[in-house]
């Protein structure tokens, strides 16, 4: 009786292959149920799961291979999977594929097809694919691939019976198995054949000769080592010289697989081009257009400034009037009788400095909300794309500034972005110009100061200042390109995400993170600088005119005079090195919290500075030495104090020279003197 059963029963081995997260484990569990055995692959720490499935008297021994994206020897998992298939030769390999990402999953199938085992494709998550609007014809795919394709929804157990039957039929040779295999590019076929001939006697069992030759062309280190050990030295030299001459063969091999995938997908998948995708395409005809896109970018930038001034500035004025001045009065009353230095420290240092910087909040909130909206909409990627293409057309064929724009908003990531640039010299120069990308802290200073001097022209002036910064960046870039990169070209590919309706929560989070970082800065570094400035302004006599700060200021005054700037403005510039917003805190400290009557700090500055001098100040502030955090990053990334200090000196000279030119130019034109 026992004998009869064992005679009727046939045991076959089925290996499950697939990428991670395609539902391979679910398929394994469905097939094996409780009959699972979990251990390790021999000598490895990778988990090995096996189990049994019985079907019509056939015992299927199911082996769950580790999840892999391909069968190169890149990872331990990939080596285990391919070694198992080659050495154990399972009767059937089931490639579990995610139907929603068929292109990605077919690569593994393409690799499996060059091994001598029959393959079945289990097309899992077919329901999710349908929901996404992807229509896959399993029969067409089956015909194109030349092997069985079983649509499945493993989580619901759908398609399991069909899969088991397909395995049984294939193992028993009941179905025609004539897979269409990917082929190496035509111009490399002769090379492949030559290699096969040369290594024919040396390929050890059970490795297939043609597969090993293919892998050698692909540069597979493990198999290259194996063949080198097996071949006679002179024969290996022959093989090696072929491989050296055909280093690009790896592209021919992989390229053949992609071409095959493209053909399979084109045959069997229909993708409705509706909704979001076509909307994105239509919008990008303008937003990513070389000319209209640039116009749109300039318009968007102008609109952001307009909104900031229309909403943020009046609120900032209100906060200043009701918080800063009222706070200073209150502190003075509270501290009546306290020493003058203490009153000065609290009223000027704390409230005048830090308090004033905190009144930036409404401006920043509008600014951040606008950028958060644009980012979540998907527009910021287009802005970087259009800007980068523009720079390319301007003659920047050298290393592109894309990494810098991806770090737009803060110079620290912009400097770090230069890491991607290859070549020591090129990377260094990219780092050196990174501080010229306008950062949000500088934008905040701009947003505070510009309306004081330029009223209705504020949007235009801010826009012009940012454009001027970018112009300097372009000019420097062209110069560097000529001198250093010598026309060397860099190429980038970037993903432009689909547009979508911005999510309030995401924008809120974006605004909150940046605002929190700003408040932290105000509470720490700006507070420290404000107190220091207040102390320097009060010591040693309590009189500003004879203070240490005035002494420093007078030292800078001759330089300031060339730009129409008093020593207070020069001290403000100097302190902006710590953090850009500190410039305003310093002015707040110097002119006192309660000063200026109804008009506040704005009133004082408006009466003190001519528009030409104010413009010069803004130009210098925009181009000035970056903040301490950026300088520290430059030091870290260049690993050299010499280059860091050189950059600081360069930006110092550049910014002051530009400030001087702008001031003198404006005076010559008789404007705003």
């Amino acid at each position: 009786m026992v004998e009869r059963v064992s005679q009727a029963q046939r045991t076959i081995t089925v290996a499950l292959a697939g990428q991670p997260n395609v539902g391979k484990s679910t398929v394994f569990n469905l097939l094996t149920g409780l009959s699972q055995h979990v251990g390790n692959w021999p000598g490895k720490t990778v988990e090995r799961k096996t189990g049994i499935h019985q079907h019509n008297g056939t015992i299927m021994r199911i082996v769950d291979l580790p999840g892999t994206y391909s069968l190169t020897a890149n990872s331990l998992e990939e080596r285990i999977a391919r070694d198992y298939i080659i050495k154990e030769r399972p009767d059937v390999v089931v490639a579990v594929a995610d139907a929603t990402a068929l292109e990605r999953n077919l690569y593994l199938v393409a690799e499996l097809l060059s091994l001598p085992v029959p393959v079945i494709v289990a097309l899992n998550m077919i329901d999710v694919a349908e929901q996404q609007g992807l229509h896959i014809e399993p029969h067409v795919l089956e015909a194109a691939l030349g092997l069985p394709v079983v649509p499945m929804v493993a989580t619901k157990g759908r398609g399991l019976t069909e899969l088991v039957e397909a395995i049984a039929r294939l193992a028993q040779g009941e179905v025609a198995y004539a897979p269409s295999r990917p082929r190496i590019r035509e111009d490399h076929r002769a090379v492949l054949e030559e290699l096969e001939r040369l290594i024919a006697d040396a390929v050890p069992e059970p490795y297939p000769n043609d597969w090993v030759a293919l892998k050698l062309l692909e540069g597979d280190e493990e198999l290259t080592r194996m063949i080198r050990e097996q071949l006679a030295p002179e024969r290996w030299e022959e093989v090696h010289s072929i491989l050296r001459r055909h280093e690009d063969a790896v592209l021919a091999v992989a390229g053949g697989r992609y071409e095959w995938i493209g053909r399979m997908v084109r045959a069997a998948v229909t993708r409705p081009r509706a909704g979001q995708i076509s909307l994105t395409e239509r919008l990008d005809r303008v937003a990513a257009h070389p000319v209209w896109g640039l116009g749109l970018l300039l318009g968007v930038l102008g609109l952001v400034f307009f909104l900031t001034y229309a909403i943020g500035s009046p609120l900032q004025g209100l906060l200043e009037a009701h918080l800063v001045r009222a706070g200073a009065d209150w502190a003075a009353r509270l501290l009546a009788g306290a020493p003058a230095w203490l009153v000065g420290l609290v009223a000027n240092g704390l409230i005048g400095g830090v308090g004033r910087v905190l009144t930036f909040l409404p401006i920043l909130l509008v600014f951040f909300a606008a950028f958060g909206f644009l980012e979540d909409l998907g527009y910021m990627a287009r802005a970087a794309y259009v800007m980068d293409r523009f720079m390319h057309r301007m003659g920047l064929h050298g290393k592109s500034f894309l990494p810098l724009f991806l770090g737009f908003g803060c110079n620290v990531p912009a400097v770090m972005g230069a890491r991607v640039v290859e070549g020591e010299r090129a990377r260094l120069l990219t780092i050196l110009v990174a501080p010229l990308v306008p950062c949000t802290a500088r934008m905040a200073v701009l947003a505070f100061l510009v309306p004081i001097f330029f009223g209705r022209a504020s949007t235009l002036v801010s826009w012009g200042l940012v454009a001027f910064n970018l112009l300097i960046l372009v000019l420097l870039g062209i110069g560097l390109n000529k001198l250093v990169f010598r026309g060397e070209r860099a190429a980038f590919i970037m993903e432009l995400p689909l547009y979508h309706i911005p999510n309030l929560r995401t924008i809120g989070l974006f605004v909150w993170r940046r605002t929190a970082a700003f408040i932290r800065r105000a509470g720490t570094i700006i507070l420290a600088v404000s107190v220091l400035i207040a102390a320097l302004a009060a010591l040693p006599s309590g009189e500003l005119g004879s203070s240490y700060l005035a002494a420093i200021g007078r030292f800078l005054a001759p330089l300031g005079a060339l730009m129409g700037l008093g020593w207070e403005m020069m001290v403000a510039l100097l302190t902006s090195f710590v953090a850009k917003e500190t410039a305003i805190a310093t002015l707040g400290v110097l002119y006192g919290a309660g000063a200026g009557g109804e008009a506040g700090l704005a009133g004082i500055l408006g009466s003190l500075l001519a528009p030409s001098a104010a413009l010069a100040f803004l130009v210098v502030e925009m181009l000035f030495i970056p903040c301490a955090a950026t300088v520290a990053t430059i030091r870290q990334e260049t690993g050299s104090w010499r280059w860091t200090l050189l950059d600081v000196a360069l930006l110092l000279v550049l910014s002051l020279a530009m400030g001087l030119l702008v001031y003198q130019g404006a005076r010559l034109l008789g404007w705003g003197t």
Binding site: N74, A101, L102, E103, R104, Y107, R185, E186, R245, E247, D248, V250, L251, A252, A254, G255, G256, Y258, E259, I261, G262, V265, T280, D284, A288, G372, D376, G378, A381, Y385, R389, H392, H397, L402, P403, L406, G409, C410, V412, P413, M416, G417, R419, E422, R489, A490, A491, F492, I493, M494, E495, L496, P497, T506, L509, F510, R513, R514, A517, A629
Partner: protein, 100 residues
Amino acid sequence: MGDLMLGRLLESLRRGGTESLSGLARELGVSEALLERMLEDLARRGYLTQLNNGCPGQCARCAAASLCSSGRPTRAWALTGKGSGMIAGRTCWKAGRIVT
């Protein structure tokens, strides 16, 4: 037709400058998903490098980490020295010169 894919992809980067993923997919006549797989493959083989792929071990120490990680990350790839070498090599080969 067997050519091509990866060769054509690298070839189209010869112009330099920035290409959009969707534009390049259209040009090569493949879906964006397949192009992405190809870019990842080329990056793995060292012909391209993925930008802003995080800076392993760096972000934790970086003060600007919160500024980078919010919003929607944009993926971008750059041609590496190996990649441009390959393009240059192909040019020589195409021009019938001996590649050394």
